[in-house]
């Protein structure tokens, strides 16, 4: 679609790839420069479109990982072996290349630094990406909001942003890990799927009117959202973003 000059209208634009940084064995962060980027809000995503030489196009959505104040736009992409788009982004793309994207997109799954209520973030695997944007936005804005991350990963090596989360964690930003498949020797954290007892231990009490953001595979999101409702969280304060393999 031609980009008419309507405020709010999105159109496809070209981003320059500044660099690609490994996060884990399967996840990499693409650092992009997008000319005339209008800025974004923590939790938003972009759509990426690849076009093959024969004209075939594939489009995927990727959450923005960077805080809104950053100069570069960062996307963290998990490689899926039989994916149409992610193996290209993680294996083939190089600094200096260009990438077609549309965004920033979304407003429902967004956290603003002016939000003062307690926040529970629950991530399954690469579902941490938009939540990391919220954590980074909180730090960048000097927000004092009570924010708690419960992060489910398969193993310690699969924890995306592990060191940065360690650095940022403190009294008002807590980070709890659960490792569902394997744990390092002497692991003292959780070692099971997220459940109601865990959410109750980690999350703000329902009586404090917290907002919850849950991002991960569909069954994970459904289970966590259901458990939070049972714990008394208000449904309209539970925001979800789900992903999963699908061919439609």
């Amino acid at each position: 679609m031609a980009g008419a000059a309507l405020p709010g209208r999105l159109s496809w634009r070209l981003a320059d790839v500044l660099g690609i940084e490994p996060e884990t064995a399967n996840a990499k962060t693409l650092v992009l420069d997008v000319p005339e980027w209008p800025g974004h809000r923590a939790g938003q995503h972009v759509d990426i479109r690849l076009t093959a030489e024969d004209g075939y196009q594939a489009e995927r959505s990727y959450s923005i990982a960077s805080a809104p104040n950053g100069t570069a736009l960062e996307l963290t992409v998990e490689r899926l072996d039989d994916g149409e788009v992610s193996p290209y982004l993680t294996d083939e793309l190089r600094a200096g290349d260009q990438l077609e994207l549309r965004g920033p997109v979304g407003g429902y799954f967004v956290w603003e630094p002016r939000q003062a209520e307690p926040v529970l973030l629950v991530a399954g695997g690469s579902g941490v990406v938009p939540l990391m944007a919220m954590i980074r936005a909180r730090a960048a804005a000097g927000s004092d909001a009570d924010m708690r991350l419960l992060f489910s990963s398969r193993s310690w090596d699969a924890v995306i942003y592990r060191d940065e989360l360690d650095r940022l964690a403190g009294e008002r930003l807590t980070v709890a890990h659960t490792l569902t498949r394997s744990q390092p020797a002497g692991w003292k954290g959780y070692a099971r799927r997220v459940d109601s007892a865990m959410l109750q231990e980690v999350g703000p009490p329902a009586g404090h009117k917290p907002t919850a953001y849950i991002c991960g595979p569909t069954p994970f999101v459904e289970a966590v959202a259901g458990a939070l409702v049972a714990l008394g969280y208000e449904e309209q304060r539970i925001k979800t973003e789900r992903f999963g393999p699908t061919g439609g």
Binding site: R102, K239, R242, P245
Partner: protein, 91 residues
């Protein structure tokens, strides 16, 4: 295959390209069960096009297909769509 977003978030870019407003916070009311949800919270299924279903009763809310220089948007199951007009969030 890749992990795809499976909420209204997945259709948000296309909808904003068409409507020129952020659509994930637009409130839809299901024509069958009457539940209201932000578009960001409805279920999305992707095949040749994009299908949006009510998260409560699975009713077909909308179908979006792109092609031949057009975007086709069918809204068979949406009773009403309330779109914010001035950047207001809840909260």
């Amino acid at each position: 295959m890749d992990a795809l977003m499976l909420d209204g978030n997945a259709a948000a870019g296309l909808l904003q390209e068409v409507f020129a407003v952020e659509m994930t916070t637009a409130l839809e009311t299901c024509g069958r069960c009457g539940a209201s949800e932000p578009l960001g919270a409805v279920r999305v299924f992707r095949g040749a096009g994009t299908v949006l279903r009510c998260p409560h009763c699975e009713n077909l809310l909308a179908a979006i297909v792109e092609g031949r220089g057009r975007v086709w948007i069918a809204l068979p199951g949406v009773r009403a769509l309330a779109i914010e007009t001035e950047g207001g969030d809840e909260g």
